[in-house]
């Protein structure tokens, strides 16, 4: 019995088991990185004050206040853990690994053994990242962007920075292998009749994100590898004298910008589907949405230089990047508009997944619009490296991706775990989280507009920031409320795992293939391979209503004559 369990845990052949492993890891790191955020907000809201309760424990050297050196580690690892160890495992790990075979009518991913290796690489990366906290001089502290020369062994001595860099190599390997698996699966393993334009938008999101993973993680691999060589072998690739620190920035951001699309594409797909499902009508202009997603994917690497507008690029190069950056905003705006049109004259059910999906529309629109300033080179002279940037990416990455991940989790929880989450607690969670993210990240935007910069241990050592101190304190208080509000989700989640109502096969009454099998699905997913006859959003069709007496029909369900 225990040997079987060990085999299931260490060598799972069912993709759903690997997906759950990614999921638990992601949730765990979400908690850790979230706690780091609370410590950062403490220092920004109450600079120099001892941290209540845990201050003396965490920072024994002083009176329990966050020291500057620790602050650097906090904001660095908050970013690293959130991006690579929390959001990515959930949005590019757990959800696609779980859902893709189910949604395309396959029994597993194309290469089941590769799924396992992908998780092991991630597990190794996790161990290395966690180990970095316990070495002398502590973990990495040069920002998640790790710009040399600061991230060299001169700027950041100690094993911690190196360990984090090496861990990123394994994260990259995990993502590339996972991406190969996803791309091959979507191309090769679709059930008969499942043409590309009958795929749920969720699958399109996963598919395009996987393409970006495959193509662009190697680029950061080179950047990180050369930085590691500089740190360990004394090479001078990015050194102050003899090397070119800006070369790192090019490599980093050629990966870095597609990375943000890697994190948001799954969310765009999920939201596109959920809005259709809970409006009980097909997604507006499905083909246009898919074309927009493809266009954004194609443009994603061409905009990378907008992170380097003040790094001394030639003005002509800067202008090219500004052009592409402003251009890429257009298909993104098209996406939001398509979502709004899906709602038009629908029959909207405000179940928890739908609430979160609507929340994504709002926060992503806000976040995306705030990016227009940043893509405008002259305005970026003022806003670069400010809290406006932090607010922008927290709206688009943290708020939108997080709300999107919650939307997905609330929606597919019955399928993943065979039980239902409590609706009332879900709604409570939403009504705490949405205003929370808007207030917290809105506070960042306002502070950045006022000129406050990021990564400052005590911003109020600068006189011009002092008027923003009250705003900072309020933002921190809202952040604590937001964090505590997540306990509602944690409670709901674990309670429902144990004692939630058993889930029906298709509690949401929609037609995508994962809902045509049991909750949770058996090994092999389907009793027999489905034959797909229609698209993913066949809702409120009068003919179906007449013949079947309901407003939905499964993708592989035959309509009687």
């Amino acid at each position: 019995m225990s040997l079987g369990f060990a085999r299931r845990v260490l060598f799972p052949s069912d993709h759903k088991d690997v997906a759950r492993q990614f999921f638990w890891a992601g949730l765990g790191f979400l908690l850790v990185a979230g706690c780091f955020a609370m410590l950062i907000r403490w220092q920004l809201g109450f600079p120099g004050q001892p941290v209540p309760a845990v201050g003396k424990l965490l920072f024994p050297a002083g009176r329990g206040e966050v020291p500057p050196a620790s602050y650097m580690k906090l904001f660095t690892m908050h970013g690293v853990l959130m991006i690579f160890f929390a959001l990515s495992p959930i949005l590019n790990g757990a959800l696609p690994v779980f859902l893709i075979p189910l949604m395309i009518g396959a029994s597993n991913l194309a290469f089941p053994w590769l799924t396992r290796i992908s998780f092991w690489a991630f597990a190794l990366a996790s161990v290395l990242a966690l180990a970095s906290f316990f070495v002398p001089l502590g973990t990495a502290a040069s920002g998640w962007t790790a710009y040399p020369p600061l991230s060299s062994n001169v700027g950041m001595p100690g094993a911690g920075q190196t360990l984090v860099l090496v861990s990123l190599l394994f994260v990259g390997l995990s993502s590339i292998l996972g991406g190969v698996n996803t791309v091959t699966t979507v191309i090769r393993s679709r059930a008969p009749g499942m043409g590309y334009f009958r795929l749920p938008l969720t699958v399109w999101g996963f598919f395009l994100a996987a393409i970006l993973n495959v193509l662009f993680f190697p680029v950061i691999g080179v950047a990180v590898l050369l930085d590691i060589l500089d740190r360990t072998l004394g090479t001078q690739f990015f050194a102050a004298a003899g090397g070119d620190p800006i070369a790192y920035q090019h490599l980093f951001w050629i990966f870095g910008h597609p990375e943000v699309y890697i994190l948001i594409l799954p969310v765009w797909g999920i939201v596109g589907d959920l809005l259709a499902f809970f409006s009980r009508k097909p997604a507006f202009f499905y083909r246009g949405t898919v074309m927009s997603l493809i266009a954004i994917t194609g443009l994603s690497a061409l905009v990378y230089g907008h992170h380097m507008f003040v790094a001394g690029l030639s003005p002509m190069l800067g202008k090219a990047f500004m052009t592409f950056s402003l251009l890429i905003s257009l298909p993104s705006e098209l996406l939001v508009l398509s979502w709004l049109n899906t709602l038009w004259k629908g029959s909207i059910r405000l179940a928890t997944p739908m609430l979160f999906a609507l929340g994504v529309v709002l926060v992503f629109a806000i976040g995306g619009l705030t990016g227009i300033y940043l893509g405008t080179m002259s305005v970026d002279l003022y806003l670069h490296d400010s809290l406006w940037v932090v607010g922008h990416f927290h709206f688009t990455l943290s708020a939108a991706s997080l709300l999107g991940a919650f939307a997905g989790l609330y929606f597919w929880f019955p399928k993943m775990f065979g039980r239902c989450l409590d609706e009332r607690l879900g709604k409570l969670h939403f009504w705490i989280t949405l205003p929370g993210v808007i207030l917290v990240f809105g506070g960042l935007l306002l502070a950045g507009y006022g000129g406050q910069q990021r990564r400052l241990y005590n911003p109020f050592a600068l006189a011009y920031n002092q008027p923003l101190q009250t705003l900072g304190m309020l933002t921190s208080l809202f952040a604590y409320a937001l964090f505590m509000g997540q306990l509602v989700f944690v409670f709901n989640f674990f309670w429902s795992l144990w004692a939630g109502a058993p889930a029906a096969d298709n509690p949401w009454e929609v037609g995508t293939l994962e809902w045509s099998t049991r909750s949770p699905p058996p090994a092999g997913n389907f009793a027999s391979a489905p034959r797909v006859e229609r698209g993913p959003h066949e809702l409120s069709d009068p003919e179906v209503q007449q013949k079947l007496g309901r407003d939905w029909i499964g993708q592989a369900e035959s309509l009687p004559r």
Binding site: D244, G312, M322, T323, I366, T376, M377, L381, Y382
Partner: protein
């Protein structure tokens, strides 16, 4: 509680402020409309409203027209921002050529290092890195209503020279020379902040830009150069961090 931009003491800062205002004028109404649309949809077309199935087609005219309008509006914002930003950079913020040719231009060299700003003035001989250079620490003094052209480098890690009251910043990169150009329109003291994470005292890397009347500036520079000349030590190579002024520093 304060919500506004920092005080603008520069000749060209308003150009950025007006692009921000333009963006806000377009984006804030859009966000409001979007929020209302989300709320209205949920209320008007709730569970009891039967969905009008358009099979995902473009049949409904009203939302389509509204959407295209929003898209066109945002594209127009993009276009105006693009044109205006290019103009502002080419003709003002990054118009280094004009500044080089302007006889009034005051030149400085700045060496950023962990964690202070060292500045160097050429002095009466007009050449940098000579005995009569006035050198200051965390203390830049410039004349009002005069183009100020600064060349910057770093000796350790990447820093960023940020003047919130002048709406500009520029990365300072070891191994290369970057440039900053501005004109102050009022006298006073303004903060210089570092805007690129550069280590544990990044937040304390604060300098002061003192804008003096032209007469005060001339007087100060004379005094400072004379002091430097008197205390010049040719053996102190670390103090001679200046470089020959580069009219066209190597770019990216």
């Amino acid at each position: 509680m304060h919500f506004g931009l920092p005080h603008d003491a520069s000749l060209d800062g308003f150009r950025i402020d007006r692009l921000i205002a333009l963006g806000a004028a377009v984006q804030i109404p859009i966000v409001i409309i979007l929020t209302l649309w989300l709320i209205a949809s949920s209320v008007l077309w709730g569970r009891r409203h039967p969905a009008v199935s358009d099979r995902g087609s473009l049949r409904h005219r009203a939302p389509l027209v509204l959407s295209l309008l929003v898209l066109v509006l945002l594209a127009a914002l993009d276009a105006v921002s693009w044109v205006q930003s290019n103009r502002d950079l080419d003709q003002h913020f990054w118009n280094f050529g004009a500044a080089e040719g302007d006889p009034r231009t005051v030149r400085l060299e700045v060496n950023a290092h962990q964690w202070a700003w060292a500045a160097r003035y050429a002095g009466p001989d007009g050449r940098f890195n000579t005995g009569d250079d006035a050198v200051t620490l965390d203390d830049l003094r410039v004349p009002v209503d005069t183009p100020i052209l600064i060349e910057l480098t770093s000796t350790d890690v990447i820093h960023d020279f940020y003047l919130p009251n002048f709406r500009l910043k520029q990365d300072v990169i070891p191994g290369r020379v970057t440039r900053v150009l501005f004109t102050a329109t009022e006298t006073g003291e303004f903060e210089i902040a570092c805007s690129q994470h550069c280590g544990v005292n990044h937040y304390k890397m604060r300098g002061l830009l003192r804008v003096l009347s032209q007469e005060d500036y001339r007087r100060w520079l004379q005094l400072a150069s004379a002091n430097s000349q008197a205390s010049y030590d040719p053996a102190d190579s670390a103090a001679h961090w200046g470089w020959d002024w580069q009219r066209e520093p190597a770019g990216s």
